[in-house]
Symmetry: C2
Subunit: 401 residues, 2 copies
């Protein structure tokens, strides 16, 4: 293939059709990652590759030792904010899981996780050679995780393998139904077995108050681009001091000829992690994030309002636990599925209708059920959103009670 | 700790002292990562977390399948540009190495690498439980790698462990002396033993022409924020089809209850990798990068000019192979070390003097020898840079011949 000017021209002005200024975007993974004003400014200032490395201290060359910009302070503040002792910014929430699994488990070990865990929890387990033991959920329509089932599964692992699972993973709020689990109870159960608890707070930390100490967990992983108003890729890895001594273990390898050692570098992090734009946007958004989590109650009000209003449409039913404890909403919509059967655009009619009204983020083609997230929308946007659904229902002869 | 407004205020307007518009920054790791104009524009457009995921195809939900923005095309073009069959963007060059080592080696295997390899090559080996066998260098003043020594080390591994090394790593240009190695010769030697060859092109691909096919390597890893005018963190992983079948192997784990499988997801990549700002800056800079590597010859001219001019200063001597085949330069400067002994700021005098002249990027405190990179400086900046050194030499009574 020859990289002609013509072929390369497509990279020159890549614009985003679905920008915030053009559409109401309710994509379930995107609401918490919209940059703050401060982050947008920081982007231009720190966009260049290794921009944050200008003042890397030569005697301790490591990202978390840099004080200008205040990365070192930020790591402390981040840990404090999450009620943990140590924090690191890594490349993705999934990498935070991989690092944790790698340092806390051995090949063949079991990891207990909820059956609504994100696919990356399974992949991270597979990479480190661990086996997974799933905690069931109650199925349709609630898909609820019963905390006591963690005990059942730990016992099963003990019986099958003769040893405890390396760790238990709790998905704080899942990607599918937006269900919030009872972390305190599960953590207590796991700790009775001395099994470390890792909390996947990708959908919670950064948008709602999350305090690892109060929850009683050992490790928190989260996602900057999902929930902290930061650029991708940013993961957050926070932990107790006890866990830090294992997870942040430094390198011990030595060059056989050069005798070089890298005893300063945190092994599983591969040394430094996220430099430049993503890290600085995370930092610049941090004051805004600290403030916004206090307004979580109002975000829940909006979510419940949306559920209430959409359930006025015949055949609409919110799946997952009620009332909503998160802004990610999974809606069953049997009536719209019936409409789709007769529509020439089939399942795509809903996407088309919404887009025409300036609303995007639902998966194109779905009508039987669909997911969306109303986090951070204004009340007027939320009202416009439900009215759009009411209008579409009426247009196709579906009753709105 | 209480996160008061006062404590948080330090994150609100983080400005970069050493921006391109204020200083000539010759930091050895930073020259190739300065964003292009196009990348800077793309930053603002695509800064929001999962911005590139708006059009993720539901039937094949994976980053490299997205066509809007043209990520799928970009991966093809990137592979073509590097003379390889497949390419992926990962979170860092070090992660590209980790992925490669993980999929090509088993714990206990040997990895043969040059003794000037970057520390992250050692860490990646340590994480996967591999042992390293170093290829020596000739030491002061050239620090040259002899290609035939790869054969010696492969033989040693064979003798010690009874099996071949899992792979051989070649550092195309090293971080310390900026030496270019004879990749063609080394790759040929390794392939005679059927040992796969991984080229670390962090300092070369993106600034100079690198064609994996012509070089005869199996895998190329590189760094977007180091050499492709992209935001951190971006790594490049390119490979032959044969290697892709191993390195990009998809997941096979299954949930024991949910029976969920993730057969679409590339295991060691943990599914999707770099979304948003860093990926889009890499794409937006790509036409510029394709063009700029053709001007590598002129960059070398500048580097050699700088060496020639600095060596006019008494006690200055370029370390590493001559003439320079890269823009990263390591200079011995015994005369400045003598000056530092009597200066009240000791070794920091050089840093102070240069900064006063608008030049930054040398490690503060060093005078006996120091590293810098002149890549992408204009001729007038290059001339200003050497004149600054001449002026400082004269000021402290060091002869300039």
């Amino acid at each position: 293939m020859i990289l002609t000017k013509e072929r390369l021209s497509k990279y020159l002005s890549i614009t985003r059709e679905f920008s915030e200024s053009r559409y109401i975007n309710v994509n379930p993974i995107q609401r918490g990652g919209v940059l703050s004003k401060e982050a947008r400014m920081a982007l231009l200032e720190w966009g260049d590759g290794y921009s944050v490395c200008d003042f890397c201290p030569p005697q301790a060359p490591r990202l978390d030792k840099i004080t200008k910009p205040p990365i070192s302070d930020f790591y402390d503040d981040l840990a404090a904010f999450l009620g943990m002792d140590e924090a690191r910014v890594v490349t993705r929430c999934r990498e935070a899981k991989l690092i944790t699994f790698l340092m806390l488990s051995k090949p063949g070990d079991y990891i207990v996780l909820d059956s609504l865990a994100h696919y990356t929890s399974y992949l991270a387990a597979e990479v480190v050679g661990a086996r997974v033991k799933e905690v069931p959920n109650s199925g349709y329509p609630e898909f609820k995780i019963n905390p006591e089932d963690y005990a059942v599964k730990i016992e099963e692992v003990l019986k099958e393998s003769g040893k405890l699972p390396a760790l238990a993973l709790i998905t704080h709020v899942d990607y599918l139904y937006g269900n919030l689990v009872d972390v305190v109870k599960i953590a207590k159960i796991c700790h009775e077995y001395n099994v470390p608890v890792v909390l996947n707070a990708a959908y919670t930390a950064g948008v709602s108050p999350v305090d690892g100490k109060k929850l009683g967990v050992d490790v928190i992983v989260s996602s900057g681009h999902k929930s902290w108003a930061a650029c991708a890729p940013t993961g957050i890895l926070a932990m107790t001091s006890e866990m830090a001594s294992k997870i942040l273990k430094t390198s011990s390898i030595e060059g056989d000829i050069s005798k070089r050692r890298f005893a300063m570098k945190e092994l599983a992090l591969l040394g430094c992690t996220v430099m430049g734009a993503p890290l600085v946007t995370l930092m610049a958004s941090f004051p805004y994030v600290v403030e916004r989590v206090e307004r979580w109650g109002e975000e829940l009000e909006k979510a419940r309002f949306v559920v209430r209003e959409l359930e006025r449409i015949d055949g609409f039913r919110q799946l997952g636990i009620k009332p909503k404890m998160h802004t990610l909403i999974h809606m069953e919509s049997k009536s719209f599925y019936e409409v789709s059967k007769k529509h020439k655009r089939r399942g795509f009619f809903l996407y088309d209708e919404l887009k025409a009204k300036g609303i995007v983020g639902l998966q194109p083609g779905l009508t039987k059920h669909f997911k969306f997230n109303v986090y951070g929308l204004t009340w007027s946007q939320v009202k416009y959103f439900v009215e759009a659904f009411h209008d579409i229902a009426r247009k196709y002869g579906v009753e709105v009670r």
